[in-house]
Structures are given as structure tokens and as C-alpha cells.
């Protein structure tokens, strides 16, 4: 009996090694290590690579205003647009960037509401990415109009000319959806930054930093009362953000779905666009996080487990968009409408076949590699694979927009779109802007949500006592007397 008991206990101990969840902060890092490690990025002089890459990407980002100046001064004709292809790279880039902006708020809002604790170490940078992506996205619809100096007509501003908006237009819904999304995301992000900004303020050694972070942290003192307000506000904002995650891209998809154009006029678009946005957004999160994790040695905070989780989401959403692609074809065939059938046949086998198959390869085929654990565990393999969805999602929007309108109802009016150097340079410029802003972010703001990460460490959990493990016993209750939160 005793022997049996002992062997059973040994088996249980062995099994629990496997069954136990991996901790979200590896290597039993103490709370002070987290603070030190994250704040050090901001506090220590910037490494050479940061200077080099910031200057390079800053220069690339400067192409954006340069191209926009040329565009506004000369006319939309500097792009390759024509009739019938009145939207091409402009709206493709808009939807692409907006899509990337989805992962951030999804991670911070939906995963927050569903108590997914692994979100904490990645949500800050994902949200920052969202903000920057939406900035890049906003450039395109604003500047794609023929007369940007009248773009204020899009806002319901009372004026002497009695100009009022057409609320039937999905483009107007877009204006509201995107601006709301941007505002809420920015507030949400900033709110979440306040406690960490206070930590930076408290650690600041120079007057300037003290002032700057002091102003930014809005007088945060970490009092119980402030924490209570903070938690409530954060929860409410998460509640507001959650439908926005779904609504923004649904509304963006209405730009196409409510039209009469075969290939656009599709009811599947809202869920398909949301899935695609999450798919592309997570790919971009990984694209940014994996290098920065390496450069700043954040492996203990952004663990392989995080990457693994995100890969699984990519696999899921990638399969969802794959389903959507095939369903579009099925419905086109099932409708019996020759215009619809042609639109989809033309996508796959028309003049833009290469874009379509690039999209299928990148979005449907490549993520299937994430079925293999090896592919999810090796960050460099992951980085290589996520480049496919990054590319593929751009192609997806290109395929939807350009291949649908370049050959619609009347063959007499069929056309073809080729980008000009301005199209290409502007897009590269926004990529530069995006990375440039992110580089500034990692330099001046804590890229890991320190206080929330601390909250999910084993030592922050009063109940996390596992006699079978070597984990340090919790030292303090997480909320009441958490010194680390106050002083870090």
C-alpha cells in the first residue's frame, strides 16, 4: 500500500509537472526585476541600433509628408487611379492599417474582459501599435479625396452653406467609426499607461524627466481610492472598446458590402473582415514583439507561451478567412448571377491572378504551419511565418478592392490599375512612419505593462500556493499593500 501510494504520488508529481500551467512570467522573476528591467529601457541611454533604426525609419517616414504634399499640390492623378478603378492602393492601405489596429484593442479589451491573463505583457505594445496603425490608416481616407481642403464637409459642422452629411453613406459611418475607435483606443491606452508613467516619474533622476513623466502621469499616487477609480474606468473602457473592435472593421467592410459592385456586395464581409483584421493584427504584434523581445531581453515577460498563444489565434483566424474566401466562391456560384460568378472567376484567373494566389498562399496556406508545435515555439520561425499574413492581408484588401472594380458590369468599361511611384512611395512612407512611431514609443514609454504583469506573477496571487513546485510563496496580497505598485 505504502509503495503503491508512493508510486502514485511520484506519478502525480511527474504528471503535475506536465499539467501545470507554465507561469506567465518565467524564471520566477521578482517584482523589482520586472520594474527594473522594463524601466531600464527608457532610463538608460539608447543603444546604437535604436539610433540607427530611428534615423533610418524617420527618414522613410518623411516620405509620407513629402508624397502627401505632392499629392495635394498636384492632384489625385499622381496615383495610378482611373475609371473604373477609383480606389486602389489608397483604400487598400487604409483597410490594411485599420486591420492591423485591431489586435491591440482586442488584446486589451476582449482578453481583459475574458480574464485572459497572458494579455498583460503584450497589451501595451499591441495598443501602441493600434494607435500608430490607425494614424497611418487615417492618412489614406483623408488624403485620397480629391479636395482635402473640403474634407471637413464630412463632419456635421453647422455652417452657412447648409452642408449636411448623407447618413446613408458607409463612408460617413467610416468617418465616425474610425475616429471613435481612434479616440477610445488612445484614451484606453493612455489610461493604462498612467500607473507605469508614475513609476517612471518616481524613478526619474533628471528634472526634465520628472516634469515630463509627472505631467503625463496626471498626479497618480497609487492610493487605494485611485486604484478603485482606475479599475472601474478601465473596465468601462474595456466594455466600450469591445464592440468597437467588432464594429470598426464591420463598418469598414460596409464600404464594400453595401455597394452594388459584384465582389463587394457580399453579406459575409463584416465577420470576414473582423477575422481578417484580428489575423493581420496579431501577425503584426508578433512581427514587432519578437525582435524587441530579443533586443531588450524580455523573454521572461513575453514568454514563448505568449507567442504560442498568438500563433494559435493566427491559425484560427487564418482558417476563418480561408473559409470566407471559399464561401464567397460558393455563394457566387450558388447565386447563379453571371456578374458575381465572373467577379470571382476573374479574381482567381483574371489579370490579377497573382494577387489572388499571393493572398491564398499568405493567408490560408502559410498559417497552417502553426499546427506544428515547432513552428509556434521557435520565435524566428514564427517571425518568418507571420510575414506571410502581413503581406497576405495587404493583398487581400487589394484583391477585394481592385479586382472587383476593374471589371464590373459593362465590359466596355473594364480597365486595369497599375500603381505609380507615388502610390508605392507613400505606402513605404507609412510603413516608415509606423515603425518610427513604434521606435519612439519603445524609447520613451514602458513597453510592458509593468503593474499588470506584476499582478499576474505567482507571488501576486495569495492563493497560488503549490507545494509540489519550487515557486516562491506569495509575499504580499496583490491589491491592498502592494508596495511594488506604488514604488516599483
Amino acid at each position: 500500500m505504502r509503495a503503491d501510494n508512493a508510486s502514485a504520488q511520484a506519478a502525480f508529481a511527474k504528471a503535475s509537472d506536465y499539467l501545470e500551467r507554465q507561469p506567465l512570467v518565467a524564471n520566477h522573476r521578482p517584482l523589482s526585476w520586472i520594474t527594473d528591467h522594463v524601466c531600464r529601457i527608457v532610463e538608460q541611454p539608447a543603444p546604437i541600433w535604436w539610433w540607427v533604426s530611428t534615423i533610418v525609419f524617420g527618414a522613410v517616414a518623411a516620405l509620407t509628408p513629402a508624397m502627401l504634399t505632392y499629392l495635394v499640390a498636384t492632384g489625385v492623378g499622381v496615383w495610378g487611379l482611373n475609371v473604373p478603378v477609383c480606389w486602389a492602393w489608397d483604400i487598400t492601405n487604409f483597410v490594411f492599417w485599420i486591420g492591423i489596429g485591431h489586435a491591440g484593442t482586442l488584446i486589451s479589451a476582449i482578453l481583459f474582459l475574458t480574464r485572459q491573463k497572458w494579455r498583460t505583457s503584450i497589451n501595451r505594445s499591441a495598443e501602441a501599435m493600434t494607435i500608430f496603425a490607425v494614424i497611418c490608416a487615417g492618412i489614406f481616407p483623408a488624403f485620397h479625396v480629391g479636395r482635402i481642403w473640403f474634407a471637413w464637409f464630412l463632419f456635421p459642422i453647422p455652417n452657412a452653406n447648409a452642408i449636411w452629411q448623407n447618413f446613408r453613406s458607409p463612408l460617413l459611418w467610416d468617418v465616425f467609426a474610425v475616429s471613435t475607435y481612434f479616440t477610445v483606443s488612445l484614451i484606453f491606452w493612455y489610461l493604462g499607461l498612467i500607473p507605469d508613467l508614475a513609476s517612471l516619474r518616481d524613478r526619474a533622476t533628471t528634472r526634465f524627466r520628472q516634469m515630463a513623466y509627472g505631467i503625463l502621469s496626471l498626479g497618480w499616487r497609487g492610493s487605494n481610492r485611485q486604484w478603485t477609480h482606475y479599475e472601474k474606468t478601465y473596465l468601462i473602457l474595456a466594455g466600450i472598446s469591445t464592440p468597437l473592435v467588432l464594429s470598426v472593421h464591420s463598418v469598414v467592410s460596409f464600404d464594400f458590402a453595401t455597394s452594388v459592385v459584384p465582389g463587394w456586395h457580399t453579406t459575409i464581409f463584416p465577420p470576414y473582415f473582423v477575422a481578417g483584421a484580428i489575423f493581420g493584427g496579431f501577425a503584426m504584434v508578433l512581427t514587432l514583439l519578437i525582435p524587441f523581445r530579443e533586443l531588450y531581453g524580455l523573454h521572461d515577460l513575453v514568454t514563448d507561451k505568449h507567442i504560442d498563444n498568438m500563433c494559435k489565434i493566427i491559425l484560427l483566424t487564418g482558417s476563418l478567412v480561408g473559409y470566407a474566401y471559399s464561401m464567397e466562391f460558393f455563394i457566387a456560384w450558388y447565386s447563379g448571377n453571371p456578374f458575381e460568378i465572373y467577379a470571382f472567376t476573374n479574381r482567381a484567373f483574371g489579370p490579377y491572378w497573382w494577387a489572388y494566389w499571393a493572398m491564398i498562399t499568405c493567408n490560408v496556406a502559410a498559417p497552417q504551419l502553426f499546427w506544428f508545435k515547432y513552428c509556434r515555439q521557435n520565435p524566428w520561425v514564427v517571425l518568418a511565418i507571420v510575414m506571410f499574413p502581413n503581406t497576405g492581408m495587404w493583398f487581400e484588401r487589394f484583391v477585394i478592392i481592385v479586382t472587383s472594380i476593374h471589371r464590373d458590369f459593362l465590359p466596355s468599361s473594364w480597365g486595369y490599375f497599375s500603381p505609380t511611384w507615388v502610390d508605392i512611395t507613400l505606402f513605404i512612407g507609412t510603413i516608415g512612419l509606423f515603425v518610427f512611431l513604434f521606435l519612439l514609443f519603445v524609447r520613451f514609454l514602458p513597453i510592458i505593462n509593468m503593474f499588470e504583469v506584476k499582478g499576474i506573477t505567482p507571488q501576486a496571487d495569495p492563493h497560488a500556493h503549490n507545494p509540489g513546485s519550487n515557486h516562491a510563496a506569495p509575499t504580499q496580497p496583490p491589491h491592498s499593500l502592494d508596495e511594488s505598485r506604488v514604488h516599483a
Binding site: 489625385v76 475609371v83 463612408l171 452594388v260 465590359p411 466596355s412
Partner: protein
């Protein structure tokens, strides 16, 4: 050049109006003002060709002239009146129309010039003239832009240097002295054909003064062989004019009578009148066409045979024999007696000719055989013989007095020059250096003449070679007259003072005659007086009526002209058998360009951007070739990124060659090519520069129309061509709906059941429909049975609606701005395609997809059913264009109206502003759009509003503010010579448009979208002869209710893409 402003020397007869109380009382102040004002202003004129001040004076001048046309009771004043002393009928912003005419080589086009504040902006056909009835063609429409062409040279030159008018005076005096000494033996005049009786009168006077002088007339595309044949067949001084409205069966042998070269407005009108089918049982004429290239006439044919131009004679001989067999005729027998017995070339089915002959014979004297006018005299004569045998002379083939006077030919003139007997050559208009047959060597020839003068509205290749260049006037700037095709006498009156000075041909001839410059219409009036032979009491009124109404009717054609079979038989031995064409020795046909004609309109941006009705090519010409010939030569066309990339060949005839792209033209006869002339005139101005190649370089005297032995060699290069329609097939879509006449009689409502339309479930609109509560509900119906696809509507719309020219580069990018376009699709077998045309303008959908998506309400519906654009509101999201299923919206990608089209990409670095003269053409009632705004067809809303204002003014206090039916036409409708476009009020059940919409064959394009277009189409009804070999008797796709949607009409899919591969 100093301008001499003339004042009337004395008061003319009739009532005199005084312009102010000052004039009435003849105060010294007024006298001083009258005499000082203009000479003082003349100094300013020299510095700045068109300052604001001088423009005001121009306007004043033309208004003074306007009085003649309008009131008819003012004395003819030819001096300037400042606009501050406005004539009382002038209301700023209101247009005035003046009757005038555009001279053409084969009969002038009677026109009305619409002017605003003294500047002509738009041409319309003269509604009173039976040829026009308000219709016009693309060249007439575009002629107003020629007037304002900034490339017109504004000064006299002598040996390339600016000269003074006094020098010209001295030169003319010298010429007169020289000619006076030798009775004009060393003087020659070479003129273009204007059919002006006044010019004929002056010519006679000149020849009276200098009896030995040579008067030659040269038209590159009107050699007058039909006139020679007519002289033989019907006696000298006759010419032949078809009356297509009387013809039931028509055979056109290489005669594009629906195009602008061979035919005129009355031909189109007559032909389409015979095809207007409204209800089952209506009769339709039937058209057989045998031709080398697919012409507009070919697209309207019921049966088309691809026939090499050199086989025309053999074809007609066979036809004549068949007709003789069917209806023995002694005259025809005698004509055919001595004709060579030539075999039909292989590939021509004798059954085709037999059945065609049977159909012609069956219709007795209501048939018509038309032969291309540029074929040989023998072929023309044979055509007349066939018509005579069919009994058509006097019914469908009218013999009328010859319009043009016989003149020395260019060849004889060349001989005289070569023999050094000509010392002075005066060239009136035209461009012989550019267009004369090459073997005549005109470019060098002019250098051998000591003194040469070229009078031309534009500086061209001839002007560059002559000693003198004298700026000529546009017909809108000068007094003149001309004959229309039917022989009626047309008046030409100026609508504006010559923009840059210059002289008309008449004025220059007067100068040569040594007379003083005529005052106003004196010259023309003299001719008029001589023609009318009215008493002095009626003279004044008759003249005023003539100027106001624009024409005097011509002599009625004599029906009883006898056919002289003997003279014709003598000619027919010349008919030769066609050359055997091979890939290394092709047959070339020099055709006119639908856009620039013989080259005279090459610097006209509207016409350069006007898509050729068949090839849809703009800004270029190209060798047209069949796909079979192309593939045997290894030549191809590809559509790469929306641009037609054509192989460039070196085309050689004898020792002359040109490098040019080839365009594969479906329906072209094999082993022959067509070469459109008129391009490659870099000298003409910035618009013509770089456009196309000069096909005249391959032309010689004996191969003036058809040349043999053309070799095409691949150069390995390609050229990018701007086409406005890249895809040629309908892809099995039910866009143009056709039925044979028999099918229509069985099922008149077929058009509503074709394609998806038979399967549409009841449609619900998502948004409430606009409230269509207006007094009028505008709608348009286009009859596809009568639309010939001539594209006159495109130019009319361009002129009316201030549509910018965007240039070749922008057209290649798909950014042409035309508000109405004519889609042309090839159907049927790729080797023997048929073609259909479909004009597409904004459909003014009641349930418009563009309106729901505009975020700023810039495109909205009005209560009269118009989809209106508010340019001021448009921010240019372009969403509306994406959502427009008909793709009729056009976007201003650049500031086309503000920046030069070759510097569009320079942005603010490009010079800003439009040429001053181009501004003058703009219609003040239509906004000139800036960059960044969307635009589209408005159903000519400015005309609707004007009609409304007129109705309200007329109504005064009554409620009767409804626009009277028929008082309003859109620009495209007005221009359409086929009357295929009908616009009007749906609320008026009696209006034509309401009745047409109620016809069973009326259908909407893309009905299933439930956009409820206000522009609908009448399905096209063809009238095939079931007895013809290979006749396609069913045009309704066998749709049934199967699953095969999108696959039927599969044969359609070949012609286009394959044609371009």
C-alpha cells in the same frame, strides 16, 4: 498687322437705328468718340492679341453684325460698337443663334452658331434645313474649337519672317502687274473645295481679268471620279445623290455612307428613317455591305461581306450579271456586252451576290446600290448602270446639277509648274504639300516657284514652304456662302470679328482682283442678288431672310434623267481583276480618319480625343489589319495594363516607307490593310504634334485610293496606343439586345425577357425612393436600331458641357472625361464578326447607387428625376464612381482646365491658366470643373433650366409653367443625325419619350440591379434575309430557363481578346 477699322461711309437703305442720343443728335462729342476710340485701341491690339479691352470690342463687333441676322432690318454695319452701348436685344448670359454653314468638300453643313455675349460656343445643325433638321456631325461640332485654336498663326509672314500688311499690298500689286502683262499665264491658283458660289463668281471675274491664269482645285479625298462617271452616265453638269429614305434594299459596296467621308447628314437620316421600327409589322429597310474594313455602315448592315477594295469591280460585274439574269434589261446588257469576263476571287460566295441581287430586284425601283466615290470612274459608272437597270434613277438615286465647277486638276497644275510656266502660285486653304500624292513632289515643287502665297486659317506644311503665309479666317469669322449636298444655297455669316485678323478666301480674291476690301456681306450679297434675280423691292427682305434662316432651297433634282448606256459601256473595259494579295504584297486602302478627316482637323483636341467609332483609338492612327493577316505576319496587339500595345511595322510601298503601329481590326478583309490619313502633322501645333503617322507618304497618283504591293516588316518595336475601350466582347451579358425582324414580329417584348431579366424576383429598395414630384419627369430613350455609332453625340456633349481634353497619356490611364460614350461590341464569329453600338450616358437612375454612397450629399436626386451633381460640395471620394454600374462618372484627376496637358504631373510648377481663346469657347451655363471633383452627364440640366425660365417668362402670371413638349433637346439628342436619342418628359403621356418607353422592345440596361434608370434602350432589330448563305436568322439568345447563364453567346467571346493577341 494693323487693323483698319471701317466705318460705314454712308447710310444704307432701310431703317437706320441710332445707338445713342449722341449719335442721333450727331454731337461733336459723339463724332469724336466714334472716330477716336478705335484707332486708339488699335495700338493696344498689336501688343496683346486678346486683352480684355479688345475682347470687349470684339464682342461689340460681333453684336453689331448680329443685328443683321437677328433683326434683319438694320443696315449692314461692319464697324465696332463698344459693349457699353449694348444693343437692346442682348441679355448677358442669354445665347443668340446665327445661321451659318461649315464648308465641306462635298456639300456644306447648314449650322446655327450659338453665341454668348458675342462669342460662338456651340454649333448646332440648322433645324430649318431639310438635310440637318438640327442634326450635325462630330466635325461640325468640333469646328468651334478650331476657331479658338491658339496655334493659329496671328500674323503675316514672308519667307518665315513677320511682315506688314503694306508688304502684302505691294506683293499683290506686283502679282497684278505681272499677270496683267501676260494675261495671267504665269499665275496659278490652287484652292480647296468650298463649294462657294461667291468664290466661283470671283474666280470667273479673275479669269476674265487674267484669261490665261490657272485655277486648280485639290481635295485629297475627293478626286471627283463619281462626277466624271455621272457626266458620262447622265450628261455633263450632273451629279448623283442618293435618297436613302426611299430605299428598301440597299447594297453598299465600299461606301461608308454613314461615316463622315462618303455620306452626309441626309444619308444617315434617310437610312435610319427606314429602320425605325415601332410596332410589329413595321417595315425595315435591309442593308447589304461589301467592304474591306469594318466601317460604321458595316455595323448597321444586315449582311456583310468582306471584300477587298480591288475586287469591287469584279464584284459589281457579277452583281450586274445576276441582276441581268433576274430581270433582263437591254441597257444593262449593252453595258455588260464588252466587259471582260473576270472570275470572282476565291472566298467570295457567288450565292451571296445572287441572293443580294434577287433582293435588290425584288424591291424594284426602291433599291439602291452605292459605290465608294473614290473608286475608279469605271466602277462608279457600273454602279450607276446597275441602279439604272433596277429603275432607281429618280427614285432612290437622284440626279441633280453638279455643285462644283470643273477645274484644273492638281496633276495638270503640277505639270505646268514643272514646265516653269507658273511664276506665282496662290494657294487658298488646304495643305497640298502634306496631302498631295508623293510622286508629284509638292514639297520640292513649291521651292521652284518664285512667288507663292498660302492663305490658311492654320500654319501647316504648305505654309512652311510658301514665300508668303497669310492668316485666313475661320468660317465663323467671315462672310461667305456655300452649297449644301442637296444644292441648296447656304449663307455663312460671321459670329465674331476675326480673332487674329486675317482674311477670308473671298477677301483675298478681291485683293487679287485689285478691288477694295468689301464692306461686310457686300460680296455675298452680290452673288445672292444674281442668283435670286428678285426685284429691288423684294431683294432686301429676301436677303434678310436668307441670312436669318441660313439657306435658300436648291433646285429640285430632275427625275427624268436618261441613262446613257453607250457612254458607260465605253468606260467599263477598264475594270480589272483584283491583284492577288499575299502576305508580302498586301493591298492598302487610304481611308479618311473619322476624327481628323483628311488632316484638316488634326490640331483639334476634341477630335484627337474623339474615339474612333470602330477601333476606339484616340490621339493616333494605325494600320488596320485582319487578325488572320496579322498572325500570318507574326504581328500582335496586346492589352497590357489597360494600354493597347501594338507591334510597330515598317510599311513600304515601292521606295517609300513609314513606321507605324498595326491595330488588329475585327472584320477586316484578309491580306489588305487600311491606312487612315490625316495624322503625323507635327507642324500644325501642340495638339497634332506626335499624334499618329502620315499615311499620305505612301500615296501616289495612281494609288490614290487603293495601292498594291504593300510590305509590312516587323521592326521589333511596339507602341502604346490610347484606346477608350479595351474589351471588345459582351462576355455573354445581355447588354445590347438584338432580334431579327421576324423574331420581333413574333415576340415584340423579347428584350424584356433576355438574360437575367426574365428571372428577376420582385425587388425591394432598401432606401425610400426620392420624391419624384416635379412638374416634369425627364427621361431618355436610345433606339439601338437606328444608332449608327457615329459618335457625333460625344463631340456635341464635349462642346456643350465644357468637357476638358486630357491628352493621350491620360486616356491610356483610363481618365478620359467624356460624359457620353458609345460602347462598341463585336459579336458573332471572330472571322466574320458583327458589331453593335450602344451609347451610354448617365442613366439618371431613380434608385441611384451613386447617391446613397456619397458621404457629403454631393450627388442627389431632384424632384424631376435627375441625378444632380453639386460640384461645390463634391470632395472627391470617388465612391459614387465605384458604385456606378454603368461607369459613366468621370473624375478630374488633375486640373485639366488649368494646367497644360503635358505638364499635369508638375503640379504647382506648371504654368497655370487656360489659353484666353479656349476660355471663350466655354459654355457660360455650365460650370468649368476643377480638379478633385466628380462629374457626369446631367441630361443637359442647363438647357432644362433655360427652358423652364423661358416657360415661366412666357407664363407671366398664369400657372402654365410647363415646358412645351419638343422645346427642349439635350446636346447629344440635338446632334444625332439618326434621331436615335429621344429625350423628354415622362409626365406628358403624349411625349415621344413616354411613347417609346411604353414600347415592348424598351429595356433597361442591368435591370436586375433595380436602379430604375431613366435612360432606357429600344432593342436593336436587324432585318436579315433568310435566303442569304450563312444567314443568322435568330438574334435572341436561346435562354430558356436553364442553368447556362453566362455561357450562351459564347461565340461572342472570341473576337476581342483574341483579336488583341
Amino acid at each position: 498687322m494693323k487693323r483698319v477699322i471701317q466705318h460705314p461711309t454712308s447710310s444704307a437703305t432701310g431703317r437706320t437705328y441710332w445707338r445713342s442720343l449722341g449719335e442721333y443728335s450727331r454731337t461733336p462729342d459723339f463724332e469724336e468718340w466714334l472716330h477716336r476710340e478705335f484707332p486708339a485701341g488699335a495700338a493696344e491690339w498689336d501688343k496683346d492679341p486678346l486683352s480684355r479691352r479688345s475682347f470687349i470690342r470684339l464682342m461689340g463687333a460681333s453684336l453689331a453684325l448680329a443685328g443683321l441676322g437677328l433683326s434683319g432690318c438694320r443696315r449692314p454695319e461692319a464697324h465696332l460698337v463698344p459693349f457699353t452701348q449694348s444693343p437692346e436685344w442682348v441679355i448677358s448670359g442669354k445665347n443668340l443663334s446665327f445661321a451659318t454653314a461649315q464648308p465641306r468638300r462635298r456639300g456644306a453643313i447648314p449650322l446655327l452658331a450659338t453665341t454668348f455675349n458675342g462669342r460662338p460656343t456651340k454649333m448646332e445643325g440648322n433645324p430649318l434645313h431639310p438635310d440637318s433638321l438640327g442634326a450635325s456631325d462630330n466635325h461640325a461640332q468640333a469646328s468651334v474649337l478650331d476657331l479658338y485654336d491658339p496655334a493659329r498663326r496671328q500674323f503675316l509672314t514672308r519667307a518665315g519672317k513677320k511682315a506688314e500688311i503694306a508688304e502684302l499690298d505691294a506683293e499683290v500689286a506686283r502679282i497684278r502687274t505681272e499677270a496683267g502683262a501676260n494675261a495671267g499665264a504665269t499665275l496659278a491658283i490652287l484652292a480647296d473645295e468650298t463649294l462657294s458660289p461667291t468664290r466661283e463668281r470671283l474666280r470667273a471675274e479673275l479669269l476674265r481679268q487674267f484669261p490665261q491664269a490657272t485655277w486648280a482645285v485639290y481635295e485629297p479625298l475627293a478626286p471627283g471620279r463619281d462626277l466624271e462617271a455621272s457626266a458620262a452616265a447622265f450628261g455633263s453638269g450632273t451629279e448623283v445623290r442618293p435618297d436613302l429614305s426611299a430605299a428598301k434594299t440597299i447594297l453598299s459596296v465600299d461606301c461608308d455612307f454613314l461615316g463622315s467621308d462618303e455620306g452626309d447628314l441626309s444619308d444617315t437620316r434617310g437610312f435610319t428613317a427606314g429602320r425605325r421600327i415601332r410596332k410589329p409589322g413595321d417595315k425595315s429597310n435591309r442593308l447589304y455591305v461589301a467592304e474591306p474594313r469594318f466601317s460604321l455602315t458595316g455595323t448597321m448592315s444586315d449582311h456583310r461581306l468582306r471584300l477587298r477594295a480591288s475586287a469591287t469591280g469584279v464584284f459589281l460585274l457579277e452583281l450586274a450579271r445576276q441582276i441581268r439574269a433576274l430581270r433582263p434589261n437591254s441597257e444593262l446588257s449593252s453595258v455588260l456586252a464588252k466587259t471582260p469576263d473576270l472570275p470572282l476571287p476565291s472566298g467570295i460566295d457567288p450565292a451571296w451576290i445572287r441572293e443580294c441581287a434577287a433582293d435588290l430586284v425584288a424591291n424594284g425601283n426602291r433599291s439602291l446600290v452605292l459605290v465608294g466615290r473614290r473608286h475608279s470612274v469605271a466602277i462608279q459608272a457600273l454602279g450607276y448602270a446597275i441602279n439604272a437597270a433596277l429603275g432607281n434613277v429618280g427614285t432612290t438615286l437622284l440626279v441633280q446639277p453638279r455643285l462644283s465647277a470643273p477645274s484644273t486638276s492638281l496633276q495638270s497644275l503640277t505639270e505646268k509648274i514643272r514646265s516653269s510656266s507658273i511664276r506665282t502660285l496662290v494657294i487658298l486653304g488646304g495643305d497640298p504639300v502634306y496631302s498631295a500624292p508623293n510622286d508629284l513632289g509638292w514639297a520640292d515643287l513649291l521651292g521652284t516657284i518664285p512667288n507663292s502665297i498660302h492663305l490658311s486659317p492654320i500654319f501647316n506644311a504648305t505654309s512652311a514652304k510658301t514665300t508668303w503665309f497669310v492668316p485666313g479666317t475661320h468660317f465663323l469669322e467671315s462672310w461667305g456662302d456655300a452649297l449644301a449636298g442637296d444644292g441648296s444655297y447656304l449663307s455663312i455669316q460671321p459670329t465674331i470679328q476675326p480673332l487674329w485678323g486675317g482674311e477670308s478666301q473671298l477677301e483675298f480674291l478681291v485683293r487679287l482682283l485689285g478691288q477694295s476690301k468689301p464692306v461686310g456681306p457686300a460680296l455675298v450679297r452680290e452673288t445672292f442678288t444674281a442668283r435670286t434675280k428678285l426685284g429691288a423691292d423684294k431683294q432686301e427682305q429676301a436677303w434678310n431672310d436668307f441670312v436669318r434662316e441660313g439657306f435658300l432651297p436648291g433646285a429640285t433634282p430632275s427625275p427624268s434623267k436618261t441613262f446613257n448606256s453607250g457612254a458607260v459601256a465605253a468606260l467599263l473595259s477598264n475594270i480589272s481583276s483584283p491583284n492577288v494579295a499575299e502576305t508580302n504584297s498586301l493591298e492598302a486602302v487610304f481611308i479618311h480618319s473619322g476624327a481628323v478627316d483628311d488632316g484638316r482637323y488634326a490640331n483639334n483636341g476634341w477630335l484627337q480625343e474623339w474615339p474612333d467609332p470602330m477601333t476606339k483609338l484616340t490621339w493616333d492612327n494605325a494600320i488596320l489589319i485582319s487578325s488572320k493577316t496579322a498572325s500570318s505576319l507574326g504581328l500582335k496587339n496586346e492589352i497590357i495594363k489597360g494600354i493597347l500595345v501594338a507591334d510597330v511595322v515598317k510599311a513600304t510601298i515601292g521606295t517609300r516607307s513609314v513606321e507605324t503601329p498595326v491595330v488588329i481590326a475585327p472584320g477586316h478583309v484578309d491580306f489588305a490593310v487600311s491606312l487612315p490619313v490625316g495624322y503625323g502633322q507635327d507642324l500644325l501645333g501642340p495638339v497634332a504634334k506626335g499624334a499618329g503617322f502620315d499615311a499620305y507618304r505612301l500615296r501616289t497618283t495612281d494609288s490614290e485610293y487603293v495601292a498594291q504591293g504593300l510590305r509590312l516588316e516587323r521592326t521589333g518595336h511596339t507602341k502604346q496606343l490610347a484606346v477608350t475601350q479595351e474589351h471588345q466582347a459582351m462576355e455573354g451579358r445581355d447588354l445590347v439586345r438584338e432580334a431579327a425582324l421576324t423574331e420581333f414580329n413574333e415576340d415584340p417584348g423579347w428584350a424584356k425577357k433576355v438574360g437575367m431579366d426574365g428571372h428577376i424576383p420582385p425587388n425591394q429598395t432598401f432606401y425610400p425612393s426620392p420624391k419624384l414630384t416635379g412638374e416634369h419627369q425627364w427621361a431618355m430613350v436610345i433606339d439601338l436600331s437606328t444608332c449608327t455609332g457615329c459618335n457625333a453625340c460625344v463631340t456635341a456633349c464635349t462642346a456643350e458641357n465644357n468637357i476638358p481634353v486630357v491628352g493621350k497619356d491620360q486616356v491610356m490611364k483610363g481618365r478620359e472625361m467624356h460624359w457620353i460614350r458609345v460602347d462598341r461590341y463585336y459579336t458573332g464569329e471572330p472571322e466574320e464578326p458583327e458589331a453593335v453600338s450602344q451609347p451610354v450616358a448617365c442613366m439618371q437612375c431613380e434608385n441611384a447607387p451613386c447617391e446613397t454612397v456619397c458621404p457629403v450629399n454631393a450627388t442627389v436626386h431632384n424632384e424631376e428625376g435627375l441625378n444632380v451633381m453639386a460640384y461645390n460640395r463634391c470632395i472627391g471620394t470617388r465612391y459614387c464612381a465605384n458604385n456606378c454600374p454603368y461607369k459613366v462618372r468621370r473624375f478630374n484627376f488633375f486640373d485639366y482646365n488649368q494646367r497644360p496637358i503635358d505638364k499635369l504631373y508638375w503640379g504647382p510648377l506648371a504654368p497655370k491658366g487656360t489659353e484666353e481663346t479656349i476660355k471663350l469657347q466655354k459654355n457660360p451655363n455650365v460650370t468649368v470643373r476643377m480638379r478633385g471633383v466628380m462629374e457626369k452627364c446631367t441630361f443637359c440640366v442647363q438647357r432644362i433650366e433655360e427652358a423652364k425660365i423661358n416657360a415661366r417668362v412666357k407664363a407671366r402670371d398664369s400657372d402654365n409653367i410647363k415646358i412645351p413638349a419638343g422645346s427642349l433637346q439635350t446636346a447629344c439628342q440635338q446632334a444625332c443625325p439618326a434621331d436615335a436619342i429621344v429625350f423628354g418628359d415622362l409626365k406628358d403621356a403624349k411625349s415621344e419619350v413616354s411613347q417609346l418607353r411604353a414600347l415592348p422592345q424598351n429595356y433597361s440596361l442591368l435591370e436586375y440591379l433595380n436602379v430604375r434608370p431613366r435612360l432606357t434602350y429600344l432593342g436593336r432589330i436587324r432585318n436579315p434575309n433568310p435566303a442569304m448563305p450563312g444567314a443568322r436568322t435568330s438574334y435572341i439568345p436561346s435562354h430558356g430557363h436553364g442553368e447556362s447563364h453566362g455561357h450562351e453567346n459564347a461565340t461572342e467571346n472570341h473576337s476581342s481578346e483574341e483579336a488583341h493577341k
